[in-house]
């Protein structure tokens, strides 16, 4: 049956008649002559059907440029795939409207319910020329806007602030199609001599991806995690700069999936907050457009990049960053922004260098005397991103290391002497060794462990949910005796409570315990390269290592900030009922002292006559173990013994 159907399809398509080929159509429609013919001349070429209605044709002419058609989105199709009424040549003079809904069912459905369809009664091809239509993602901004501007020539947007700027960077449907899927798309551009910015082509970028076989996207995302981090793109841009280009990122809000229901939510369009908040829908998709040998590829980008683009004013995002949280306004650093706030109108100006030392005076002084500054001449934001979303205290070891590896790309190469290199690299930041003056400590944090062992730091809100209070005072909950110091017993009691509440409230986590890191608590900006201390293991691997004197627990505070409280060092070496630190061991952390022996004697004495029962129980258990083991082996060897005995009996 199926075979027959296939045969029918091959040999008798379109009602059993021979299919009309594209080339045959282009014999007439592929030449501009058809436009110069008179009505009568043309009528001679078709089967006259004067009784039928004339349909609107929009901008479509009888001439179809074969070359443009073949490069259009429909280029692979045959003419008769859409013009289904044509079964032979000559074809009827007047025909029905082509039904786009055969393929674009969903789009036609969206459109038919729209105000645009009701009011204008426009048909698909009156906006989109199906013979020359490009794939949506390949259309330039002008081409996209051109679709609307065909009719909406003199649109008035007087209410719209920064009109010119909006029109320059946005397509109509960003606002007028509220349900379209939007994204913020970055492209790598460079400035030419005249100061014009243009996107860089693949050929221009390829030399910078030599190490990655010309794959620019791999050269950018060098850690190959599929997401372009801020430092990754910065590194690539600095390579471009070294190569003599003047690169920058150009951001654009684009529709990545159109929705054909326009203007029905017209009142919402005038709401600026549709775009100008960090909740704007396009912030959900942050992408980087990277050219390839043919076409381009879109990579996901770290949202942190958003804090760096002042041209889309979404200040609430900035307020989530470390400076934003501390009440630092844009103009506090970028003093020259005041100029932009005058009545001169909106214009993007080159920003002056921010002045970090106005606030971070002591750090600057320390740094300016350091070898790092003298050799590299890097200033603050050469390493640090002032718009970074996360405060230093909350960065993980690997995130902190990333600050250094922006320039010191292959740290592993220079550390072959280091035993257990991978472990050191996984858990430690560079400055643990390379910044001898930094204050180091052992930092515990409260974490929830998932089913597969994945960990999540518990925020104040999550602890509050467990304890069923808003904004809980976590410190007070742990430090029962209120002495400001966390004893081991208090910590364990709190963990026990959290685990109990967790199992009572739906068991979101498998277990709640303490995670632990050795971290720099207060950095020192005086770095050594191969400093005298850097290769000395005993700086850390000794019970006298500095960080043992600063054992702290991170206490999540309401509003997402963190405070720290001292914890008894005992928590590290003690064996606890809840395994707090069983997965954390630093070689050399234990050194038995006279005090330990004295303590042991004290404990032995304290148990005193109870030892009798402890030893006694061991006696009895020993006897039970003997009986059990001997009995088990006896059972196990029963057959062997019987076999041997019966054989010997036979021999006797």
């Amino acid at each position: 049956m199926f075979f027959f159907a296939v045969l029918c399809f091959i040999f008798c398509p379109r009602g059993g008649l021979r299919a009309v080929e594209k080339d045959e159509c282009f014999e007439c429609h592929g030449s501009k002559e058809i436009l110069q013919m008179s009505e009568e001349e043309r009528l001679e070429l078709v089967v006259p059907t004067p009784e039928r209605k004339v349909v609107r044709k929009g901008n479509i002419t009888l001439f179809v440029d074969p070359e443009r058609f073949s490069s259009s989105v429909h280029g692979e199709l045959e003419c008769v795939d859409c013009h289904t009424e044509i079964e032979e040549i000559p074809h009827p003079q007047r025909m029905e409207v082509v039904d786009c809904g055969v393929c674009h069912e969903e789009v036609v459905e969206q459109y038919q319910g729209s105000k645009h369809a009701r009011v204008s009664e426009r048909l698909c091809y009156e906006c989109h020329n199906p013979h020359y239509a490009l794939p949506f993602e390949r259309m330039s901004l002008d081409q996209r806007m051109g679709i609307c501007i065909q009719c909406h020539k003199d649109v008035e947007h007087d209410w719209l602030p920064q009109q010119e700027h909006h029109f320059k960077y946005l397509e109509c449907t960003v606002c007028h199609s509220p349900r379209a899927k939007k994204a913020i798309v970055f492209s790598i551009t460079a400035e030419d001599e005249r100061g014009n910015r243009r996107p860089l082509r693949y050929e221009e970028l390829r030399p910078f991806a030599r190490e990655h076989k010309g794959q620019v996207e791999r050269a950018i995302d060098f850690n190959n995690d599929g997401v372009v981090q801020v430092y990754e793109i910065n590194r690539f841009l600095s390579h471009l700069k070294e190569g003599g280009l003047r690169p920058s990122l150009l951001e654009q809000v684009l529709v990545i999936e159109p929705y054909h229901n326009y203007t029905d939510e017209v009142e919402h369009i005038k709401d600026c907050t549709m775009c100008h908040t960090s909740e704007a829908p396009f912030y959900a998709h942050v992408m980087l457009k990277v050219p390839k040998a043919e076409g381009w590829v879109s990579l996901s980008m770290d949202r942190a990049i958003l804090a760096k683009i002042p041209s889309i004013p979404a200040k609430d995002y900035y307020y989530g960053t470390v400076h934003g949280k501390n009440g630092v306004e844009c103009i506090d650093c970028h003093a020259d922004l005041r100029v932009l706030r005058t009545e001169e109108g909106f214009q993007v100006k080159e920003l002056g260098e921010p002045v970090c030392e106005e606030c971070h005076e002591d750090i600057m002084e320390e740094y300016k005397n350091s070898l790092h500054y003298k050799v590299s001449k890097k200033i603050c934001f050469g390493c640090h991103d002032p718009h970074s979303a996360v405060p230093f205290a909350q960065l993980t070891a690997s995130e902190r290391r990333a600050i250094c590896t922006k320039c010191h790309c292959h740290p592993e190469r220079a550390h072959d002497w280091l035993p257990q290199k991978e472990i050191h690299f996984k858990y430690l930041e560079c400055t643990m060794c390379h910044s001898p003056g930094a204050e180091k400590g052992i930092v515990f944090y409260i974490r929830g462990l998932g089913k597969k062992g994945e960990e999540e730091r518990l925020s104040n809100r999550e602890i509050g949910e467990l304890m069923d209070v808003d904004n809980p005072d976590v410190m007070a909950a742990i430090d029962r005796n209120g002495d400001g110091r966390l004893e081991v017993g208090e910590c364990l009691q709190f963990l026990k409570l959290l685990n109990f509440l967790n199992s009572k409230r739906g068991k979101k986590w498998e277990r709640i315990d303490f995670g632990v890191n050795v971290l720099v608590l207060r950095p020192s900006h005086n770095y050594t390269d191969k400093g005298t201390k850097a290769k000395e293991c005993a700086v850390c691997h000794s019970s006298r290592a500095e960080f043992y004197s600063k054992v702290v627990l991170e206490i999540p505070e309401p509003g997402g900030t963190i405070s720290t409280a001292k914890v008894d060092r005992e928590i590290l070496v003690g064996i606890h009922p809840i395994p707090v630190t069983s997965d954390f061991y630093l070689l050399g952390e234990i050194r038995i002292s006279k005090k330990d022996i004295a303590e042991l004697v004290y404990v032995v004495r304290k148990i005193g006559y109870k030892w009798l029962d402890i030893i006694g129980v061991f006696f009895v258990l020993g006897a039970v173990a003997f009986v059990a083991l001997h009995g088990f082996l006896r059972l196990l060897t029963l057959r062997l013994r019987r076999h041997r005995q019966s054989r010997e009996r036979r021999e006797d």
Partner: protein, 206 residues
């Protein structure tokens, strides 16, 4: 296989002593547990009852000990049966330990055949020597001292106080518990599972 002569291994007197002693030891362990941990083990109606039972069975043990001692003393076989020689300790014990822990499982026949004259192999001999000549007397003596502290005060003070006497008594009690378990288990290692038990009841082994 050669028919072994049916010899009386355990005379009636010894069998009687053994079972009275055995029952007493079990009772002493049970009452002792309640005396040591009165709030954990409530086996007998009250502590007072447990103490008086403990005292009673303590004396029973004392008398059976003398009865046992008197029997062997009269027969003049006490030393021969119970006191291990130097060779037995140095060579015999490792040999029998090796048998119980390794060769037994390979199905080797028991290298020792008990006779009325030599009832114990060196391992047993040494163990029973320790039990009957050191531990039981010590336990009985410490028990007696604790039974009437007032009367025996000078002796108690001479050895270091009630605590010390009690400590010794307790630790020995645990050893007896452990011994009892092992003793019962090893008794099943006869020709058949119950042959040693049977011998201790009827006097003859199969």
């Amino acid at each position: 296989m050669e028919q072994r002569p049916r010899e009386l291994l355990h005379p009636l007197w010894i069998r009687l002593c053994h079972w009275v002693h055995g029952i007493s030891i079990v009772m002493l362990i049970l009452t002792g547990l309640q005396i040591r941990f009165p709030d954990v083990f409530v086996i007998f109606p009250n502590l007072k009852r447990a103490v008086s039972l403990h005292n009673f069975f303590g004396f029973v043990v004392l008398f059976t000990f003398f009865a046992w001692f008197a029997y062997y003393a009269a027969k003049r076989t006490l030393v021969k049966q119970y006191v291990p020689s130097k060779d037995e300790i140095i060579l015999g014990m490792p040999f029998y330990a090796n048998y119980y822990f390794i060769r037994y499982f390979l199905g080797d026949p028991h290298p020792f055949e008990p006779t009325p004259e030599v009832k114990f192999n060196p391992l047993q001999k040494t163990t029973y020597f320790g039990i009957m000549f050191i531990m039981v007397p010590l336990q009985v003596i410490t028990g007696l001292l604790l039974w009437d502290i007032k009367t025996f005060r000078p002796i108690i003070e001479a050895v270091g106080g009630v605590r010390v006497v009690d400590a010794l008594h307790i630790i020995l009690a645990y050893v007896f518990c452990a011994f009892l378990l092992v003793h019962l288990y090893l008794a099943t290692l006869g020709h058949t599972f119950f042959s040693h038990f049977k011998a201790m009841i009827v006097g003859y082994e199969d």
